[in-house]
């Protein structure tokens, strides 16, 4: 298990990736697990940075591996209440003319990770997700 704090900037996305990838390399995690975890990490980190304007505190990321699977916990102590487990209104069957760019991030996470939990208390948002070995 490893934990690191990241400042609130979209540019830190590559540092978040490298942090997780180093753990996956050392624990020999399969690509089928790594890919959805990297995607969920980026989408959630970017959401917290983008939609919590005025927030200053770092975002904490904890990565734990277990039997070939991975559990990530993202804690933001400076967040607004936004339940990432709720379904979003994205019509992926719409025609090209009807489709609007954006809004796919949470939709993808909800389909690609195995467990997704959200807890919010007094400005502290905790998101935990898991991808099991295939």
């Amino acid at each position: 298990m490893a934990e690191r704090a990241f400042s609130r900037s979209i540019d830190r996305v590559s540092d978040v990736y490298r942090f997780a990838e180093e753990i996956f390399e050392s624990d020999d995690i399969a690509q089928d697990v790594r890919f959805p975890i990297h995607l969920a990490l980026e989408e959630l980190f970017v959401n917290l940075v983008t939609y919590n304007e005025g927030a200053e505190r770092d975002i904490n990321i904890d990565v734990a591996t277990h039997d070939g699977g991975v559990t990530v916990t993202i804690t933001d102590y400076d967040a607004q209440d936004f339940d990432v487990t709720q379904s979003r209104d994205v019509d992926v069957k719409a025609t090209l003319e009807e489709r609007k760019p954006g809004g796919l991030g949470l939709h993808l996470i909800q389909h690609m990770v195995d467990h997704l939990e959200y807890d919010y208390r007094s400005g502290r948002s905790k998101i935990r997700f898991t991808k099991e070995r295939q």
Partner: protein, 96 residues
């Protein structure tokens, strides 16, 4: 690391990881396309919703003049993302 450039046959070559931090570079390049284009994902390892939004925006813009993007050499993981996003119905896609 993300690179985007034209190949020898005019195709758009994407390399590396197209994440939110790289989306500005991709958006600028795709915004310069004015006609039907083949986009080669042979060396693209990863894409997130930021990259998907650029592809969709480009496809919508090109469709107004009857043109479209064709995305080739897509890896299994990116194809899963395309499938969950409904992109397999609105783009011509070829897997590796």
């Amino acid at each position: 690391m993300f690179e985007i450039l034209f190949g020898d046959e005019g195709e758009v070559i994407c390399r590396g990881r197209l994440d939110a931090a790289q989306s500005e570079k991709a958006e600028s390049f795709f915004g310069s396309l004015s006609g039907a284009s083949v986009v080669d994902f042979e060396e693209l390892e990863y894409i997130s919703s930021a990259g998907l939004a650029i592809l969709l925006k480009t496809q919508k813009r090109l469709s107004e003049s009857g043109a479209a993007l064709k995305i080739v050499n897509v890896n299994k993981h990116i194809h899963d993302i395309f499938r969950y996003s409904g992109f397999t119905a609105i783009f011509e896609i070829e897997t590796k």
